[in-house]
Symmetry: C3
Subunit: 269 residues, 3 copies
């Protein structure tokens, strides 16, 4: 097992690499992990770093303390016109702006992102959560599409990240009411993939299942669903075949098949 | 509070304005609010009137009597080739015909439409209900995609209004069987946003939540989800930013934020 | 009642026609109906035959024995490069390859396909099931997106067939974990339309409801939802009107309406 710490002692974000898994933790627990400009900058830098790592198999996104994220630190961000212009400026290399990248950047990674949400999952925190591929939460977590209270709409990519997950009528109702809902409802409505008493354990279980898959199959699976989403039928089917042809007969695919036939764990290293 | 009555005594439709809310009531209770040509004409005129009002914040759509709407008044409409040609003729200013406008006209309004459905929600009545943005019903309401009994398919825009709400396999099964299902099932399958013993109370609660939102944010929220629906990812994200930039720093947005910080109700008038 | 048997004694597939219903049965019960090259060839031929029958009203797809289908017969198929090239070669007349046609071929038929799944519904079997328009299963059936165990991704059209049925986060989680889930979960997540103790009875009930619909309405209903799926709003609405105009006033539509008004069963023969 190789452990690598990349974050400074006082950073609002902790990033740790263990056996190909990047564990990213929001680290402002005293402020309910509210998004101030330092945490936002750290998240954007982290996403850029992860984008360039070839040795990743998955990302685990979670938070220090009781709450996942209480949303934008309004006092810190909204007062400064410069901060707002920075957030709405284009994210280099992506067809969206920086505040949207805080959520959609996780989807853009080539490996699956699993997020664990407890406590408050409010506003920008909810939208970051929606950027993760698989979202695990507790029954008593508290969620809110909170932007309406500030006279604003959610603008961190939710029209993309929630598509196919949460129905439009529910999104509109929650956006207009800005009311809180718990983790059980969040799961029922599609914000969370699963609701569990111990989502950390469930995340570890999924990571252990991932360890039995070939790294190239894991990346192909993420691409398959993400890149087909916006495509018409013919392009979806072409993508399926293209990705499969790359896997078929590769060293990793043959090892996976041999291990399966011999009823032993595969060895991909 | 300002109340304004726009409907004549014997009209099959009642429209009433109270504090920026238009309450629209189907008024043929003795005929289960079946859609005869007079009610259809009144609905089309009402939708055109509402389209041009600048002072609206929301629409509440409901029905007099026990039943929301038992569908097309077949004896009245189907016998006349003229009526059918009228219904299938283009709705001026819209990319759909008049019978489709009976449902999609609600989506085309710039403010949220909340509908309350009780009793029968059959055929054309079900399709009108699906045109509302947020749909509240009782557990014992009765629904049916009824057109198949007449050798017809549903053609009031359901392929648009039900998209993302009701799964295609369920739509096909209900279209082929033409069977009845209750409000609990309607909610489970996505026809209704919520199922409640007292949907009128729930509608009033949502309207009271809306009263705390700025009028421009309410319209932006409706546009956000409606106009992004048919768009590819890049256009969705551009729309998010465009709508948000219009809100940011406006008088209404600043009042919403100040009220939030000062923990008082906002004043938008 | 007219019965017609088209399958040879030892064929891995049985096809039987009764009163306009084609009943297709996978017939390798001793091998859990695993897809070997003979069964695949028989399915492709069957789909081509059904495509050309004008007298069909519906298709019922099921399996002999305890299990619907345990997926690809890997020993038989994966060992031969020729088999793999055959499966990935274009299906004549369709914008997809042969292995995709095993699932999407059912959608391409002009009549509804109802499938009954019990026991194992694994890998390719799961993907064939998803090609059916209406999918009925038992609570204790066992499902798995199994391809990852072999270092592969699902490539039988699931990005098309599961769209709008199963959420992308669930598809990714099941693809990565390759874990088993039961019929109740399959229904909850959208793989199955309904979960019932006796799905065969439910299939017969739906077929008896279909018998009361006009043949042309049944085909129009299938087309309505299938052909609008990939289309933008305007095209969906145009299709609705086009299909309805063909039905309106036809002999079958008038008979359906007369039977409805006279409260008698319609006669379409």
């Amino acid at each position: 097992m190789s452990v690598e710490h990349l974050s400074a002692e006082l950073s609002p974000l902790s990033v740790q690499f263990v056996d190909g898994i990047a564990e990213v933790r929001l680290c402002r627990p005293e402020q309910c992990n509210a998004l101030n400009i330092e945490l936002i900058q750290a998240l954007l830098k982290c996403l850029t770093d992860l984008q360039h790592r070839q040795d990743l198999k998955a990302v685990l996104l979670r938070a220090e303390g009781t709450h996942f994220c209480s949303g934008l630190d309004v006092a810190s961000v909204m007062q400064s016109p410069d901060s707002i212009e920075f957030l709405l400026s284009p994210m280099p290399g992506f067809p969206h702006n920086r505040v949207q990248h805080l959520a959609l950047g996780w989807k853009a990674l080539s490996v699956p992102v699993i997020a664990v949400m407890k406590g408050y999952v409010f506003g920008g925190g909810l939208q970051i959560a929606l950027g993760a591929d698989i979202r695990l939460t507790t029954p008593d977590s508290q969620w809110s599409v909170m932007e309406g209270r500030w006279g604003l709409i959610p603008d961190m990519g939710m029209t993309v990240s929630a598509r196919g997950l949460v129905r439009e009528d529910r999104l509109l109702q929650l956006t207009l009411s800005a009311e809180r809902f718990n983790g059980t409802q969040a799961h029922h409505w599609g914000f969370a993939t699963d609701v569990l008493d111990d989502p950390d354990y469930a995340a570890q279980l999924l990571l252990s299942q991932l360890a039995e898959r070939s790294p190239e199959m894991v990346r192909a699976a993420k691409r398959l669903y993400r890149d087909s989403f916006d495509e018409v039928e013919t392009n979806r089917l072409t993508l399926e075949e293209k990705l499969q042809r790359r896997l078929l007969g590769s060293a990793q695919q043959r090892e996976a098949a041999m291990a399966q036939l011999e009823r032993r764990p595969p060895q991909f290293d």
